[in-house]
């Protein structure tokens, strides 16, 4: 498979473009007036009935996308995380429940724009906190350009609704991305760095500082990228934690975030007897917001957490 170096923004655009070319049911939907950084150019490649600007649809774009999905289309729509609650979260929940309870196909993807603004301030306290409790809703959180393309492709091809957590502050992150159709199985966590003494579990934008911290410590720390938040790759998480005996969760949101609680519960339930230390958590929510210092501060916070865990 040939590989190209592109940034996440282009990787997401490529996934949508390829899927729209592959399947005529895939359409791109957005509220009119919303300037997307990602879907630019699609309206030049596809007919107007494939790239649809709904006007007005500020509060209803997700609900309308759900209706289109019920009728056999596969809409891919875009909503900012801090606006999702007022723009159709409950309609998304109903669609997910319909899919889970009755097996009705509701193939739709909501690209949830989240992450830190250019000045380093979080624009949302993590949409996963209110997305995770929704039964039947798939949630993916890519950390690399390759996974952004592969996970979005997988989400589009899934018969149920998916939320794609799109970190806007990672748009310019460049990575090697397989050309052509590229899918990432869901759920499948990925070991980014192998180790034997502890497992650091991260996802999305928390992965890069986690990998850097583990590498700098050079203390046999394994780093696991969740990639999929719902459903969780329980087997992948437990395999790693049972092998290392210690787990540290790194999370962009508050300490008691839904993801941290879910992963912690999974480990306590199934791997308690394999643990050599309590499950620890590090939140990056309160770490320095200055762009110049942010990465170093985040890496330092994770290293502190690792040191404490290894010393237990």
């Amino acid at each position: 498979v040939s590989v190209t170096k592109i940034n996440q923004r282009d990787a997401i655009n490529e996934a949508i473009r390829l899927e729209m070319g592959r399947d005529p049911r895939v359409i791109c939907v957005h509220a009119a007036g919303v300037e997307s950084q990602v879907t630019h150019g699609l309206d030049q490649l596809f007919d107007a009935d494939r790239v649809i600007a709904l006007d007005p649809a500020e509060r209803t774009v997700v609900g309308m996308a759900a209706g289109m999905a019920l009728e056999g289309l596969t809409p891919v729509c875009e909503v900012a995380a801090d606006e999702l609650a007022s723009r159709g979260l409950d309609q998304l929940a109903e669609a997910a429940e319909l899919h889970q309870r009755e097996g009705t196909p509701v193939p739709m993807v909501v690209r949830v724009l989240c992450g830190r603004s250019p000045d380093g301030q979080p624009d949302s306290d993590g949409p996963e906190r209110w997305l995770l409790p929704i039964p039947g809703l798939g949630i993916v959180a890519p950390a690399t350009a390759s996974d952004a393309k592969g996970l979005l492709t997988t989400a589009i091809r899934n018969p149920g609704p998916f939320c794609f957590l799109e970190q806007v502050d990672m748009y310019d992150t460049v990575g090697s991305v397989p050309a052509g159709g590229h899918v990432v199985p869901v759920p499948e966590a990925r070991i980014v760095l192998e180790g034997t003494r502890a497992t650091v579990i991260a996802y999305g934008s928390s992965l890069a500082p986690a990998v850097q911290a583990a590498a700098e410590l050079d203390a046999g720390i394994e780093v696991l990228d969740l990639r999929t938040l719902q459903p969780l790759d329980d087997d992948g998480i437990l395999e790693s934690v049972c092998r290392t005996g210690k787990a540290l969760l790194v999370d962009e949101t508050a300490l008691l975030s839904a993801v941290a609680r879910l992963v912690t519960a999974t480990i306590w339930d199934a791997a308690f007897e394999h643990l050599d230390a309590p499950v620890r958590r590090v939140s990056l929510a309160g770490v320095a917001s200055d762009p110049e210092d942010r990465l170093a501060a985040r890496v330092a916070a994770i290293k502190d957490g690792c040191d404490e865990l290894l010393a237990y």
Binding site: D49, L54, D55, P56, A57, E58, R59, T60, V62, G63, M64, A65, A66, G67, M68, A69, L70, E71, G72, L73, G88, D90, Q91, E94, A95, E97, L98, R101, E102, T104
Partner: protein, 269 residues
Amino acid sequence: MQIVASGVVREHAASLTARDRIELLRAMMLARATEQRARTLDGREDDAAPAARRHREPIGAGAAAALRPQDRLVAPERFLAAHLSREEAGSTGRFSSAPDLVPIAVGVAFAVDARGSGTVVLTLADEGAMPSERWSEALALATARRLPVVLVVERDRPMPAAGSADQPLLGEAVDADDPEAVLTAVRAAVDRARAAKGPALVTCVARTPRPAKAGWRRGTEGQIRPTRDGDPHDPIDRYARRLLRSGVPRQEIEAALRSVGEGVMSWRP
């Protein structure tokens, strides 16, 4: 947005056959019996709440009867008669909130309109949905794109004499207790939507007072019948008497009601 008012629909469709009318009665009775059976199985036989929802039986039965098999019904499950009437054609009704449902129905209409299939989407709601911004926004989009969607709204009281720009509904509407009036109005709206003339709105106003207590009770196993002191405004009772007056044989009416009662009351989970 096309307004379908009672001036149009007070003249009931002469084309309705005795079979059509019995089917309307049967659909209402099926919803009533199903709800009653569910309450019995759930140990809530004394729950009086269903009496307040009886207007939804003629609304649901009449509205669904206006659809063709290829049409779509997207409605809250509380309009049970509509869903049960569409048993073979299918419907979407798990959605609990009517304001949330309207955008979904408009999305379905968008998709069927893109296919050019001549399919119409019917959605039902109560007036509680109307103040929602989602309601307004979805209807505005449906109107702008002339989507084939018909909205049927249940209201507790007549509309004001004149609507506002945000809620362009006029005063007159069909009688919510009259399934034939609902059917006739919705059929006109559906025909209009199918002819690519855009969305339409039918308001169903409950003109009769709501009973304080349920006027129907379960008799011996397999039977459902009105109590002697039953509610005189009960839409099923009223419609059955009306069919009798119009010459529909009593035996046919009783047979239809009996078959529904026996079928539903014998069902066990």
